[in-house]
Symmetry: C2
Subunit: 247 residues, 2 copies
């Protein structure tokens, strides 16, 4: 476990500003995947069964699809969702196909969220498309985030407010400073004066932005000083990929 | 003039990575306003007359509107555009009203660009609305950017490509490293394989992002070392406002 984790008391210089990250999405094996699953909550799970993810010993060898790029143990439903949209059997899907594939297991995500997911889980050889390995990792990650969302959506409204978001992020290891959270959530303010609430789509977007940017900061703070130094190129090249995905 | 300007040879540690900025939008008087106008190109101007901006000695005292928040010399057309959308005469307009007001003088900008402009020209007392002073500064700035866009749109296609964008940014004082430019413009790639080109709306968006982020970097590099150090809160709070404006 990373020394950035919230519970690691020896890194005081980071607390309470620094978040803790379970894993780095930059690791070669897309470690989002091995993100520790949330504690079980059987009652909630029965109501909102997350889509299948890496179920050990389940579906192994069931590569009914024409190629075997999926990690061993990938649930057949995940493979089928991929197969359903990869009509040309190229082994890669683009952002629109990903949007469609996720609709079958989760919901229809905003194309902006899809692009952020594509960026974070990107295939290094083709940034505009993802393959089976990336798709499986992404699907699994979303299942874990779905379970977290449902656990912290205490009133089961399908939406979480600022405090539930803070708790949800804290619960999965991110000690986000209130000032940062306030800036982030203000982006969802529609000016109506109503309380700002996030649906699952926006929760994923928020969470992925926080995780991604934090990871970038962490990479530049290799000595755990609580500060990161960038030259101009690094700063711009780090930040710009997180900016709006244009359409 | 700032020592960050491209032509200032004594700040070698910044070249070629560091851009040069004519002014800071963070200055109290919204210095975008005093951005030096581009060299004249009468032929082009006749074809594409930019909307009126701060014309010295023009319109002074012509506050036909019910309040006098506009700087002296604001062109009456600018005041009228504001007045047209501020139907409740509150003296402030929101993002939808801004979109509508700019449509009369420029074009209909994407709501994303509008939100970025709102953020950069924001009224410190009400981040969701802007007043006469901010509106006049924004209008003037857009006029200057329009003239720049037209000068570098050499084939008059109404769009500029990567090289024209690079030249346009360089021409106004931003020496953007090719790597940064590549990352930025890739966000406009629709995957069709066609050459990426930006219309004026996207040009403004790109330019404002680059200007805004560069200004933030510059604030953290007060000693002109070519590097900037952020703590985690600062980094996140700096970057997040530039992220997508949610809808």
């Amino acid at each position: 476990m990373s020394s950035y984790t919230r519970s690691h008391s020896s890194q005081q210089s980071y607390a309470p500003s620094a978040p803790s990250l379970p894993e780095s999405y930059n690791q070669q094996d897309h470690a989002y995947n091995s993100f520790p699953p949330p504690p079980s909550d059987d009652r909630r799970r029965q109501q909102h069964q997350p889509p299948p993810s890496y179920a050990a010993g389940y579906g192994q060898g069931e590569y009914s699809y024409g190629y075997s790029g999926f990690p061993p143990g990938t649930h057949p439903d995940v493979i089928r969702s991929f197969q359903m949209v990869d009509r040309d059997r190229s082994g890669y899907i683009d952002e629109n196909e990903l949007q469609q594939a996720l609709s079958s297991g989760y919901q229809r995500f905003h194309i902006r969220t899809i692009r952020l997911l594509m960026f974070l889980f990107k295939n290094p050889y083709d940034p505009l498309r993802i393959g089976p390995k990336e798709f499986a990792a992404l699907w699994s990650c979303l299942g874990q985030w779905r379970a977290i969302f449902e656990r912290y959506d205490k009133d089961r409204s399908g939406k979480i407010d600022l405090f539930e978001l803070r708790d949800a992020l804290y619960g999965i290891g991110y000690a986000i400073p209130p000032s940062v959270l306030k800036v982030l959530i203000s982006k969802y303010d529609d000016g109506s004066g109503r309380k700002i609430e996030l649906n699952f789509d926006s929760f994923v977007e928020c969470g992925m932005i926080l995780k991604g940017l934090t990871e970038k900061f962490k990479q530049k703070d290799s000595r755990y000083t609580g500060t990161a130094t960038f030259n101009y190129d690094e700063f711009m090249s780090t930040v710009i990929p997180f900016l709006v995905s244009y359409d």
